[in-house]
Every structure is written in C-alpha cells, then in structure tokens.
Amino acid sequence: MIARWLGMPVAAAAGAARLDLTMGLVHALMLVLFLGWGGFFVYTLVRFRAGRHPRADYAGARSKVSTWIEIAVAVAEGLLLVGLSIPAWASRVSGLPPEHEAVVVRVVAEQFAWNIHYPGPDGVFGTTRPELVSPSNPTGLDRTSPHAADDVVTVNQLHLPVDRPVIVQLSTKDVIHSFSVPNFRVKQDAIPGLMIPVWFVPNRLGQYDLVCAQLCGLGHYRMRGTVTVETPEAFDAWIRTREATR
Amino acid sequence: MEIPYSTTARPDTGVTNSKLGIWLFLASEVMLFGSLFSAYVLLRVGAPSWPHGWAIMNVPLGALNTAVLITSSVTMVLAWVALKERDLSRYWLWMGFTVLLGVMFLSIKAFEYADKFQQGLYPSTNTFMGLYFTLTGLHALHVAAGVVVNTWLLGAGFTMWERDPDRLTHRVEAAGLYWHFVDIVWIVLFPLLYLL
C-alpha cells in the first residue's frame, strides 16, 4: 500500500515490506516538516509584509518552539535510524541464509550484459578462468574442470523459483555495474576484483526488470535483463531444458 | 592603501599575513600527502603480496639522500638566523648551501630513477613501483619548487633587502617552513618505500 502511494513498483520479495515501511515513514516525516514550516513561512510572509506591518519588531520571535521542533526532528531521525534502517541493513548484509537452503547463482556483469551462471544439479560451480573468456564462453568457464559439466550459463535471463531464498554472488569482468531489481528493492554495485553476495526471497510470480544502475559506458541504458519468478516445477523444467541445449 | 599586517604581526591574532598563509598552505599539503599515504596503506593492505622495499631500492643512496635533506633543513634555519642578525655574508653562505643540497638531493634521485629504468622497473611494473614513482616524483617536484624559491631569495628577490629587510626575513622564514615540511614528507617516505 505504501508502495502504491509513493508510486514505487509492486513489491515482489519478502524483505521489501520493511524497506517500504521505512520509506513511507520517512516521507511522512518530511511531509509534516515541510507543511509545518511551509505553513508558518507563508503565514509570516502575509502577516508581516511591509504593507501590513510597516514597523519591524527588533526582538522578533520570543518563543522557543523552533528549538523543540529541532529536537523533535533529531529524535524522529534517530528512531528511524535505530529502529528501522540499521536493522534492515544488518539483515540485508549479514542475514545470508545457509547456502544449502538457498538457490545460489553467480551473476557476472560485463559491458553491457548480465551473465548468469547456475551450478547445476551438483550444486557446485565449475572453475572459471579469465583467459578462457570468449564470445561463446562469456564467464570463462572451464568445461573440463570437475564440477563444470552440469553448469548452466545464460545471458540476461535470470530464472528463480518462488519463495526460496536466493543468494546472488555478484561480480564483474570489466567496470563497475550495479545489479538492480526495483521490484525486489534490491540493488548492489558489482565491483571489479570483488565477489559480493546479495540475497532476497522472491515471493511473487512474474517477470521483472533487471537493470544496471551504475554508469558503465555508452551501452549503460540498454544493459537490461529479465528476472522470471516461477513455480519450483517450472524452474526445474527450465533448468533441465537449458542443460539439454547446452 | 597598504595591506595591513604584511610585515608586523596583528596584535590580537599574533601573526603576520604571510605566516598564517604559509601555515594554511602547509595544512592543505598535509591533506595531500596524507591522502597519498592512506592510499598506500589501503593498497598495501588489500594486496595479496607486497615486495620488500629494501630488496628493490638502493637503501644506502636513500639514506644518503635523507641525510642530505635533513642537513639542508639545518642550513636553512642557519640562513634565517643569519638574516635576522643582519649578517649578510653568513646568510649567503648558508642559503647557498641549502640550494646546493637541494640540487644534490634531486641529482641523486635522478640517478636512482635512471637506475630503476635500466633494471626494467617502471611505474607500470607493479603497484609498489607505481607508488614509488608517484610519491617520490611528487615529492621531488616539491623539492624542485623549494630550490627555485630559495634560489630566488638568494638572487633576484634579494633586491627587497634594501627596501624592506623585515619583509625579506619573513619570506625566508616562510620558505623555511615549507622546506622543513618537504623534509618531513621525505622522512615518512623513506621508511615507507625503502625500509618496510
């Protein structure tokens, strides 16, 4: 509901509600402050315009109300910070689910595409090596390495089963990109040289945009993929066809 | 109209304009080299392996250069004291030494650079060499600027002596503060790059 009022895209992941609540509350605070001060401001301009109040009062306002308002603002910000934002962040960063309960998938960004790498049925990723990167092998997967045979690699097509935690291990081959799925309220920069885990629980069937949020060159605007959240059965079927067509 | 407090200190602040100016300048220089040192630390901590400076660098030459620069700081102070005591020939002597030692530092540095290039070591070789050339290069630019200023104070700038000896003394003092700063930067750089 909050998302609707603020014009945010439909939430499609489990953690989104908490972020939307924070978003709603902080905007409510902003609105109250702006209308409060704005009302005072406009009233003052009308009441004390020179035409109506030709002789100014040297001492001006004597009330301490503004000090109390300032203290109230500080307290409200503190509550939002400690009550919502910091805990939400902590669960986002350190609340990673155990790997065996989650769908683990590697996402390797490049100018200007998302390479998606699933470990396949064995649940273990094959070795990747930068030297092997080529147009037909965008992640540099070494097919001869032990766990590589069943791995699935796709471009710009991220399929996920609904209601299961997902861990995306995010990295990039060239410059900084940013993995952003607005419907999940998920965004994370991909930093060269680092592999950063991102997790979420998609809870709504459908297709969502996966966009790049960090300027990465002339094709930044068209670096876009699709996230398909589907039933576990459909997901398994999809993975199997991908293995077959490899 | 004259700008006030260019030669005499303002009573309530207790400094002249140029003294305050040079200290502010040095504060910004501290931030400049401070950031570069932080970059050094960050890159080093993040690196899987890091070469030992002493295995690559010519430590005796570096130590000699350290001595040269410290000595020049001393001669710079002596030059300023001489000027304050209005002893011109002693000023020329010590300032001359300071300039000479500065040139000597730069020559040794140039020799070291040439030596590194000969061994095939360039800024692009690895992060350590990159930092070495960038940090010492920037420092050498500062030394060179100091040498130019000191030479000017010895020659062309000296015509100020007749008109306004106090002003010249203040300039020498300011140049001295700068020179000590350049010296201190080197005293940090030397262990960072040659010893650790």
């Binding site: 895209p9 004390f48 934002s85 949020a213 300027l215 | 109209m1 400094v15 970059a39």
Partner: protein, 578 residues
C-alpha cells in the same frame, strides 16, 4: 599593485592591466563572476540538449542538431556516448566552473574585503593567480570536447575502471581539475588570511556578517577537502598515462580481451578519495548561498537575524561534520553493517545544523516589515526550495531506503533542489542585491519579477517529477530516459513536461541577461546605500567603491544587523555609526 599605488606609472596602468591583470579584489571578483556566469550558461546549454534527448529519444535535435557533427549526433540524432559526455560535463561545469567560482570567486572576492573593512585581500597577487588558474582550467575543460573521442564521459564522479579506460577527454578532465584545485587552494588561503587578519578595528568574529562566516567555513572546506581529490586525480592520471594500475584490480577482461596491466589496484580507493572531497564540496555549494540569503533576509525584513550565534555555531559544526559523511554515497558498494551504521548516523547528525540554520532564517521573518524586492523574492524562495532538497536527503541518508533510491532520478531531484532553485536562486538574489554596489545602478524590478516567477515555476516543473520518476525506479544517466524498460512504462510524459519546462526556463534566463545589460546602461542611478543596509560595504563607501575601498578604514561599533533598533533615528543603524 595596491602596494605600489604611489608609484608614478602604477597610478594609471594601461586598460588591459586595469581590467585583465588588475590585483584589485573588486575587479577580480567581477572577472570571476562574469566568467562563471558564462560557464553557467554553457552548462545550461548542455542540459537543454540532454533534455531534448530525454523528452524525445532518438529524434533529431532541432536547430543545433546538424551542427554537432557525425561523431556526436549523426543526422542530428544524439549518440549515447555524446549523451554521457553531456552529463559528465554538465555536472562538472555547473559545479566547478559555475557555482563555486561565482559564489566564492565572485561574491566572496568582491564582498569579503568590503564587509570586513579591508582595503583589499591579504595577497592581491595570489588572488590574480587564482583567477588565471581557474580560467586555464576552464579552457582545458572546454577544449576536451574537441579531443579525439570527445569530452569526459564517465560522469562528474569519474569512477574507475570506466574512467581509466575512457577516451582522451578524461585526461583533459583530470588536467583541468588539477588547475581548478590549484585555483581553489590559492583562493582559500587568501580568504582565510584576509578574514582573520584584515578585519577593521572593532570587528570581532561575532560581529562578522553571516556571509563572511559562510565564506570562512567554505574556505576551510576547500583548503582541506580539495587536496585528497588532487591526490586521487594524480593517481588516475598515472593510471591513464604511465600505465600504473592503482584503480585496476587483476584479471579484468574488457571487451572480451584481458587487460594488459599489472593489476593489484582498488576501484573503491578512488571513490573514497573522491567523496572525501565531494561531500564537503556540496556544502561549498550551499554555504555561500546561505550567507547571501541571510544578508538579504535581514535587510528586507528590517530586523536582526534570529539566532545569529546559533547559526554561526551551526555552520562551523556543519563544516566539521562534512568530513565524516562521505561514504553515504557508497552504501551500495558492499559495505558492512558497522560502516553503514556509522555513516548513516553521521548523515542524520549533519542534517540537524541545516535544520537549525533554515529554521533560524524562517523565524527571522517573524515580526519583520518584509519588503518584496527582487533579491528578496529569490532569497525567500530559497528557503522552501532548499527545504525540499534537504528533506529528500533524509531517505537517501538512511541506507535501507537508499537501496531503492540510489542512482535513480530521486538523487538527481534531491540535489538539484539544493543547487538549482537553492544555490542558483541565492546567487541570483545576490546579483540583484549587490549589482547597485558594483555598478552604481539598480536592476529593473519588473524584469526581475518576470525572471523570478518564470524560473520558480519552471524549475519546480522540472525537478518535482524527478521524485516520482525516482521512486518508480527510473535510473539516472539513462540515454533513452528508460523508455524501453517495461517497469517504467507510462513515465515518459513527465520527461516531455520536463523538457518543455527546461526550454521555457531558458527563455526566462534571457530576460535576466537582457536585464543585466539594460541596467548597466539605463538602470536608475543609486547612492551609496540604496537598500538602507547596515553592513560596511553599504554604509562606509560609495557605489562602486574606489580603488582601496575606503577613504579611511571604518571603525566598527556594533553587530551586523542592527535594523529597527528601538529609539534609533532610522530603521537601520550601520555597523560603523557612532
């Protein structure tokens, strides 16, 4: 040179010496102001091109499209690489060549010595050098458009590795920045020394006009925050020119080819150094604006500023805190809980002094006799506009909500509210207010009102929809305004509205330019103190002030805003009145 004004030749230097190479702070201030306004206009023009592409993606640009050439806009249709150049250079030019030189180099230079009762800046020749370093930096920046591959295109933030592998324009950008940084350093040393050393007798720190305080804090920010960017720029230059890899980790594969560098560097090193500058830099953009607004509010409400002392403490605290919040631009770079908690907290803390300053300014109006002159209109509008910009900083400062908002148009909306209808309005207010001091003539009030209302309405039409776009998830720096993203369908009409508003905004700026030139020749003549103001630049010298500023150095006897003192003969009591 001021100190030689007794010399026979120096008495009447040739015209070019008096105008181009004068060491008089007033001349340098005006040079700065004019150059900076020209750059603002250039930045404005780049923005109008961008807004065309955003309103009508892929349609040939009317009028100028054909002039841009095949490497930028073949057939008048903008290329994505050119859009990125426009974005990066619009940001760079507006901030480093427009607002800072106008606010600090222009207003600061012109007004600080006058307001503190000094004959000139402490180091007049350094001042001249600072201007020319700035001008050289500007030339290099503009020249970069003609470099092979065009101007810098990696955003004004120049994040590596993208900036490391960008075309030659990026090297120009770095070289230009080094010159601009040098200029700012020279300037800030000069300002601090001048304010500390050259205050007139009786002018204690707590009697300084608030504008002078804002310049003092700004100068400290420039002095201490710019060197880290200089360090960062030197390292990036080395990466680009000498083949080092300070910002490049090992194993990069660009365009399908392994990069031939040693590696071992860190892309985040740049971001830390950059934002360590760039956050204080945003307060450099706002503090002088607050100073200008405070002067004009006191004058046009005819009463003292409410809570002057608290405002001074707030800006000093603001300046100090601004060094501790930089990583709130980097929440999504993979930051842990502790770091993010620290930077969220400092960010919330730093919002409080802004709230205090803004509240004090609003409360100052209470009990006044407010005159709605042109400068007052702009200064008053500054308050709610900065309010919107500042308030929208809060959801960005909370890391949880920043996840959704980071790198969207919400950020663009946030900071444009602060810099455009915020700072730019304050600067306009300052031009209208001090124009009579600098030229001896008033600006036309009717044209001024048209300029104000036109700019006010169109700016809000441009920037308000950005919050809607941002919340909907529309990213910034998008060449096609997101028209192809399924989740952004239905948003395009906003872009069209923004486009037309931007061009209308341009028309209202023409009114301003006409007003400036018209008033230079035809504006009504004024005496020394047309606004009946209290500070020294009005009360103690003519309009325009002579070389050396004051016939005799004034003695200050009271605070800066003694308006409507009970029992006083007039409703203003100048600082130097007996």
């Amino acid at each position: 040179m001021t100190t030689q004004s007794s010399d026979a030749h120096a008495a009447v230097p040739p015209f070019w010496r008096r105008t181009l190479f004068s060491t008089d702070h007033k001349v340098i201030g005006i040079q700065y102001a004019i150059t900076a306004m020209v750059f603002l206009l250039v930045g404005f023009f780049l923005m109008m091109l961008m807004r065309w592409q955003l309103a009508y993606p892929g349609r040939p640009i009317p009028l100028v499209g054909g002039l841009l050439g095949a490497t930028r806009a073949p057939g008048g249709i903008m290329l994505p690489e050119f859009y990125n150049q426009l974005g990066a250079m619009h940001g760079t030019i507006m901030i480093f060549l427009g607002v800072v030189p106008l606010a600090v180099g222009g207003f600061g230079n012109y007004l600080v010595p006058l307001q503190i009762g000094a004959p000139d800046m402490a180091f007049p020749r350094l001042n001249l050098a600072s201007y020319w370093a700035f001008a050289a930096g500007g030339v290099v920046m503009i020249a970069s458009f003609f470099a092979p591959g065009g101007a810098a295109s990696s955003g004004w933030t120049s994040y590596p590795p993208l900036a490391d592998i960008a075309t030659t324009g990026q090297t120009f950008w770095l070289a230009g920045m080094v010159l601009l940084i040098t200029s700012s350093l020279l300037g800030s040393i000069n300002f601090i020394t001048t304010i500390v050393q050259l205050r007139a007798p009786g002018l204690s720190f707590m009697r300084l006009p608030f504008f002078v305080w804002s310049q003092l804090v700004t100068s400290f920010l420039l002095l201490l925050a710019f060197p880290p960017l200089e360090a960062a720029a030197v390292l990036q230059l080395m990466d680009r020119v000498a083949g080092t890899s300070f910002y490049l980790p090992s194993g990069l594969v660009v365009g399908g080819k392994a990069m031939a560098v040693a590696g071992g560097g860190s892309p985040l090193l740049w971001q830390h150094l950059f934002w360590f500058l760039a956050h204080p830099e945003v307060y450099v953009l706002i503090l002088p604006a607050m100073g200008i607004v405070a002067e004009i509010i006191a004058n046009s409400s005819r009463k003292p500023l409410w809570g002057y002392r608290l405002m001074v403490y707030s800006v000093v605290f603001l300046g100090f805190m601004s060094f501790l919040v930089w990583a709130h631009h980097m929440f999504l770079t993979g930051m842990g809980t502790t770091m993010s908690a620290f930077f969220q907290t400092t960010t919330m803390i730093i919002s409080i002094p802004s709230v205090v300053v803004l509240s004090s300014l609003v409360v100052s109006l209470w009990g006044g006799a407010i005159r709605f002159t042109t400068p007052a209109l702009f200064a008053l509008a500054f308050l709610p506009m900065f309010g919107i910009g500042g308030l929208t900083g809060l959801p960005l400062g909370l890391a949880a909500t920043d996840i959704h908002l980071h790198d969207t148009y919400y950020v663009i909306g946030h900071f444009h509210y602060v810099v455009a209808p915020g700072t730019i309005f304050a600067l306009f207010a300052g031009v209208y207010y001090w124009f009579p001091k600098a030229t001896g003539r008033m600006m036309n009030a009717r044209l001024g009102a048209i300029h104000f209302w036109g700019s006010f309405v169109t700016m809000n039409l441009i920037f308000m929809p950005m919050f809607i776009q941002g919340l909907a998830g529309m990213n910034r720096r998008l060449y096609d305004a997101g028209v192809q993203d399924p989740h952004l369908q239905g948003l395009q009409p906003w872009s069209v509205l923004q486009g037309w508003s931007a061009w209308a905004l341009g028309v209202f700026q023409l009114v301003f330019i006409v007003n400036v030139f018209w008033s230079l020749r035809k504006g009504s003549r004024v005496d020394a103190n047309p606004w009946q103001a209290t500070t020294l630049e009005w009360a103690a010298t003519s309009s325009p002030p002579p070389h050396g500023n004051f016939a005799v150095i004034p003695t200050v006897r009271r605070g800066p805003y003694e308006y409507s003192v009970p029992g006083a003969p007039a409703d203003f009591t100048p600082q130097n009145a007996i």
